[in-house]
């Protein structure tokens, strides 16, 4: 376990800012204590300083997880955001997409979202920006990338893709082992 290097921090924050913009500051400056990011076995964990101190006493090999896992660095040093980060990303989300009930299931099985399944979308969503996917009653389901901007969506064909799938809560069942 170690703190992130500057490069890694930059990569991570670039990725996060696609979803939550400037709200990254809200993650780091919390009123209830000092929260930081830590790298452990190529995975980035986000948790309070107290827990980090405590966890650092366990042998490296036997420590499987602490706090919340945000994602992992690939071998090519790109950052992959995991679905486990949803709890922290969703409240600060800049751009949101709401799904109709019949499209929920499709998304939870790992499919992209077509326009017929689109219930609502935040105004001024730019193309290829990260979005958080919600159900119509505001339960976060996962995140993806907007395939079209809001304006393009209006004019799009009913079967056209509007959101590319990146991660969804169905992964808790589908690939439990690969999560962390």
């Amino acid at each position: 376990m170690r703190p992130l290097t500057d490069d890694e921090t930059k990569i991570l924050f670039e990725k996060l800012s696609k979803y939550i913009g400037d709200n990254i500051r809200m993650l780091l400056e919390r009123p209830d204590g000092l929260y930081t990011f830590r790298l452990h076995r190529e995975r980035v964990y986000y948790c309070s300083e107290a827990i980090i101190k405590y966890a650092s006493n366990f042998p490296r090999k036997e420590l499987l997880s602490f706090g919340t896992c945000f994602g992992r660095f690939t071998k090519t040093r790109k950052f992959r955001l995991h679905i486990t980060a949803l709890d922290f990303v969703a409240p600060y989300a800049k751009f949101k997409v709401w799904l109709k009930p019949n499209a929920e299931q499709q998304f939870l099985y790992g499919h992209n979202v077509v326009k017929t399944g689109l219930g609502r979308i935040t105004e001024n969503t730019p193309k290829y920006n990260g979005v958080i996917v919600y159900t119509m009653n505001d339960v976060p389901l996962g995140f993806g990338v907007a395939a079209k901007s809001t304006i393009e969506c209006r004019a799009a064909d009913p079967m056209a893709l509007v959101v590319f799938h990146q991660a969804d809560v169905g992964e808790f069942l589908r690939n439990e082992d690969a999560l962390t």
């Binding site: 107290a50 827990i51 405590y54 006493n57 499987l64 997880s65 919340t68 896992c69 962390t180």
Partner: protein
């Protein structure tokens, strides 16, 4: 549909009007003479007829005298056969081939006619010739009445008497047979080995009930030459066969329960417990969750009054482990019994809590929810693959204060100590969750149990070592297993009492059976009554055991005790060397 029922009721309205039904022909009416069923009128007999009748009489008398001998023979033969034939059956047949030629249901057909004929004969008014046979038979009987002193009559009386006696005897025999059947029939030695596997299940159950009946009132109902042990052996054998347990586990079960409860327990193991879920209070409330699930077509109800987070699921149109609510972490699929140790542990916010054997994280996430995501929760499991499930579940349910580790519970305190509370849900034989895993019935033996409780003892001692006894809020250890065996429960707690500075405290669970303070000659600490046991047939929960301990001092126990620990360790190591096969322990 169909025709209206014809009633004799005269008040019924006659059908009128122009319709088809009013034109329908009524029921036929018969003239009085025809309507009479029995011909009561006497017919006039012509003089020729009278003559014929007289002739017939003479003829029959002649016949009788001829038949005397033959009839006697047949009667004796019948008796020797031991069959109780009715008199009338053979009456019409007087020839030699009577022994194999028998009238087919003639008796029933002519029963009424016989009486009529008798009447008619009394009046000496014969019918037509075609009734000849019958008349002759009835005539015989008539003659019997008239002349009781004939020696043929005496003989036939004797025969009848003998037949009656034979019948009585056979009836008595039948009765005694029935009685014997109600008594327990012990199988012979050969039978035991031969018929055991394919024995008829219904008969087996019948015998089990009878044996239990006898054992409950042994003094009066026993057979004189059978000992209690024989009965018990038979019962055990039958139960093993009927429910397909191995003898070892059945012995343990018979030791645990009074006879009346054994069957209940075994039957309860054949049915599944209801599916229950626990609301994740970090993300939702029970009422909201129930509403959301009902909208998805799930039939839910609050579990019981002792829990505020449990819901029981009666039936569901959707897979309950894959609804969007489940994936979003609003609830956890969890047996109702696994709420209990967490409730007994009663973790407080801002404490350090250890869950020693956490996978797959059901209890750990409940503890996290009770701590309201504050403090530190360490969820440890020795199996790495199972520990991955803890990671997924803690993240899904939104726990942020959790550290997941993959350490051996027997050496945990070497790495970390100073916890306020610790839950030890030790790996066990699974004798309480037979309904979940039927393999337990036949796969466990003495050695498996021994292996289990050795590990349990080591884990529990280690958990006690990792507790901070000076904690202002805690210092508690909860020990639980999903087994009902005393070896894995009370004996392990007693071992901890002997070797570590701990005492038993109340669990805070208001229901459940008290732990054993005495069992088969071994006496445990009197406070063992504070432990709680749960049984499938009493509480409709999985078989479960919960004990709560409090550590009150740092000292590691006296010298003598530490020696025993060393011995135990050595023993365990030797055991491990003996077989390196991975331990197949059922774990919740």
């Amino acid at each position: 549909m169909g025709r209206r029922k014809v009633t004799d009721d005269k008040s019924a309205k006659p059908i009128r009007g122009p319709g088809r039904k009013s034109k329908k022909q009524g029921e036929p009416t018969f003239p009085k003479e025809l309507a009479q069923t029995e011909p009561t009128d006497k017919r006039k007999v012509s003089s020729r007829g009278k003559q014929r009748a007289r002739k017939r009489l003479e003829k029959d008398k002649l016949k009788q005298t001829i038949n005397k001998n033959t009839k006697l023979k047949t009667a004796t033969k019948r008796q020797s056969d031991g069959e109780s034939n009715d008199e009338e059956q053979i009456n019409g047949y007087t020839d030699e081939n009577q022994q194999w030629l028998k009238p087919k249901k003639k008796k029933e057909l002519f029963d009424d006619d016989d009486e009529q004929n008798e009447e008619s004969m009394d009046e000496d008014v014969p019918y037509d010739d075609q009734f000849n046979e019958m008349e002759s038979s009835s005539e015989e009987e008539d003659n019997d009445n008239d002349e009781p002193k004939l020696d043929i009559e005496k003989q036939s009386k004797k025969i009848r008497e003998k037949q009656r006696q034979a019948k009585e005897r056979s009836e008595q025999e039948l009765l005694t047979n029935i009685q014997q059947h109600e008594k327990v029939q012990f199988p012979s030695g050969q039978e035991v080995t031969k018929e055991a596997p394919q024995a008829d299940l219904q008969l087996l159950m019948h015998r089990i009930r009878e044996v239990i009946n006898v054992l409950n009132d042994f003094k009066n109902k026993r057979e004189a030459n059978r000992s209690r042990k024989e009965y018990l052996d038979l019962l055990r054998q039958d139960l093993c066969n009927y429910y397909s347990y191995n003898e070892f586990l059945m012995n343990k079960i018979l030791d645990l329960f009074p006879l009346a409860e054994v069957i209940d327990f075994l039957e309860a193991n054949e049915v599944q417990r209801p599916v229950t879920i626990r609301t994740n209070t970090l993300k939702t409330r029970r009422r909201d969750l129930a509403q959301a699930l009902i909208n998805r077509g799930v039939n839910v109800d609050p579990l019981d009054k002792w829990t505020k987070v449990g819901l029981v699921i009666y039936n569901s149109q959707v897979p309950i482990g894959a609804t969007p609510e489940y994936l979003c972490g609003h609830y956890m699929l969890q047996g109702a019994s696994s709420f209990l140790p967490c409730m007994a542990l009663a973790p407080q916010p801002n404490e350090r809590v250890l869950d020693m054997c956490a996978a797959p994280g059901g209890k750990a996430t409940y503890i996290g929810a009770l701590m309201r995501n504050s403090g530190i929760l360490v969820a440890n499991d020795a199996n790495k693959d199972r520990a991955r499930a803890i990671i997924a579940n803690t993240h899904r349910l939104g726990l942020t204060n959790t550290i997941v580790t993959n350490l051996d519970g027997r050496h945990f305190s070497e790495h970390m100590g100073g916890f306020d509370r610790c839950l030890v849900d030790a790996p066990c034989s699974g004798a309480g969750v037979i309904a979940k895993d039927q393999a337990v019935k036949s796969s466990k033996d003495e050695k498996d149990i021994q292996r289990c409780f050795t590990a349990q003892r080591q884990i529990l001692l280690n958990a006690i070592d990792s507790i901070n006894e000076n904690s202002t809020t805690g210092g508690y250890i909860v020990y639980s297993t999903c087994s009902i065996l005393v070896e894995e429960n009370e004996a392990v707690v007693q071992y901890a009492l002997n070797n570590r500075p701990v005492k038993i405290v109340e669990t805070g669970l208001e229901f459940g059976v008290e732990g054993f303070t005495n069992f088969k000659g071994t006496s445990f600490h009197p406070f063992m009554k504070y432990c709680r046991r749960y049984y499938p047939h009493l509480h409709n929960l999985d078989g479960f055991f919960v004990a709560k301990l409090k550590k009150y001092s740092t000292k590691q126990g006296n010298k003598k005790e530490s020696e025993t620990i060393e011995k135990e360790k050595k023993k365990a190591e030797e055991e491990e060397e003996e077989d390196d096969s991975p331990e197949a322990m059922a774990d919740d």
